[in-house]
Amino acid sequence: MSADLTRRTAADLAADLAAGTTTSVALTQAHLDRIAAVDGGPDAGVHAFLHVDAEGALAAAAASDERRAAGSPASALDGVPIAVKDVLATRGLPTTCGSKILEGWVPPYDATVVARLRAAGLPILGKTNMDEFAMGSSTEHSAYGPTRNPWDLERIPGGSGGGSAAALAAFETPLALGTDTGGSIRQPGAVTGTVGVKPTYGGVSRYGLVAMANSLDQVGPVTRTVLDSALLHELVGGHDPLDSTSVDQPLPSLVDAARRGAEGDLSGVRVGVITELSGEGYQAGVQARFEESLELLVKAGAEVVEVSCPTFVHALATYYLIMPCEASSNLAKFDAMRYGLRVLPEGVDSPSAEQVMRATRDAGFGDEVKRRIILGTYALSSGYYDAYYGTAQRVRTLIARDFAAAFEKVDVLVSPTAPTTAFKLGEKLDDPLAMYLNDLATIPANLAGVPGMSLPSGLADEDGLPAGFQILAPALADDRMYRVGAALEAALHERWGGPLLDRAPALAAQAGPTDANGASA
């Protein structure tokens, strides 16, 4: 029974718990066992987790079982375990953001989304690996070693949230939270064959999310099905007075939209294919799966048209100006004074605070973080602000206008999520520009604040690896992508004869340092 539990969806598990056929303790233990079996550590295994909190998760599971026995579950997902990206503050649980500079930091407070998980009774299995401060598309920039793609342990799981996506793909957790600044939920979803959603900007609280680029960051669900994403999205979403950019208005029900979509009828739905985000530059197998998915949408009754968003070609450059500016300022707080790493410069007697800051920030930050801090510092300095940050913010307006014009014509926009399937570890590590190109199709949504979803569209013929299909909707119309996504998911299940992840190779048992009682790495 235990092995089966880890392969069930969150919605199934919630139903099992409600029916009394399993307990939260049983399924939490099953996932902890799976983590112990396949997660390994920096040198082998999936390495999706940076910290595993077996004790805390089991205690929360026991409390959940008691609530259920008393007939008062706290939420629909009460008792279903979850993993949390290590960029979200968790009270009493280490939060490193994948960086040496925060090694050992234990936040004295919970992010709002984490507080909501706890209040809803979801046992937190642990914290998942990520590119340092969410800067990367491969999780290779984690200071604690890369996460490996469960489809092929030689390949990247995407990034920055490779840990959360890989944990889902490896059946180590039924649910996870990720964050998406330029594609960090959706691109890992695409290359691991899982589902990931970046909600409308302001739809989910950012309080407690260690910011990379505040005006672009969003927290969102990482799951194996569209319905599971809807359940988790509804649970963590909604207004938060602690986040000034949080939207204070009710959203249409996402779970209802997903259930309705799963019935398979998309009559009257207009789908726009973004001219600038497909075709040339996309791997043939990825493009083929994308076109096949379009055909399935047409079969379901949708009208598919092509829509041009000409300024999207500037989205990547715009992003790589705005993001480093905000990041360089956000990361200034890591200075060895109040928390985290403190490194004394070598060969200096009685160093000053400033010298300690410099030495710590050199030792504590990795290359990619330094690149972006320097880039942001440059673009914000006097004389350059207008040329870089100012210009980028104006192009951002144009990108938002392109979206607005496109959504006049269609209900949702679609594209492949990422241009390729998972590449080999190390392949693009020292070529930042090549790495940045992974986010080409995901970045426009962040710049405009609109919601985006990635779901698996199948396996590319040339390498047998998962490809992703992206659905974008207007701000605050997140329900539309759940409807279309659920319909496509149902059609694809039929096409592939079941969930795509059933085709992933079995993972070898690991003797890595992760055990059910402690932290790895």
Partner: protein, 99 residues
């Protein structure tokens, strides 16, 4: 757009309080130039009549009532401090003022 020189990277690292080694400077300067060259493509894309977007959604006037809420307490506040003394954060000597 200007190429970013090694000296410039050193100056920026200084502003950003990062002690870059010579090897890091050699490594980073050309990479940053390539990135900058590529992002420079957007100059001229948007005319001056296009207003900048700093917030994705047009919210204004999000305020909080002036009511005290419980904070952390000194113990929790100082729990993560590399060093503390007299219920304060202990930091290395500070050189001059920078305000």
């Amino acid at each position: 757009m200007p190429e970013i020189t090694r000296d410039e990277v050193e100056h920026l690292a200084n502003l950003a309080r990062i002690d870059l080694s010579d090897a890091e400077l050699d490594h980073l300067a050309p990479q940053l130039s390539v990135i900058l060259e590529s992002v420079a493509s957007i100059s001229g894309v948007a005319g001056d009549d296009v207003p900048p977007t700093s917030h994705a959604l047009p919210l204004t006037n999000v305020f909080r009532e002036d009511v005290v809420v419980p904070g952390l307490g000194a113990e929790a506040a100082l729990a993560g401090a590399p060093e503390s003394e007299q219920q304060r954060f202990m930091v290395p000597r500070i050189l001059g003022d920078e305000q």
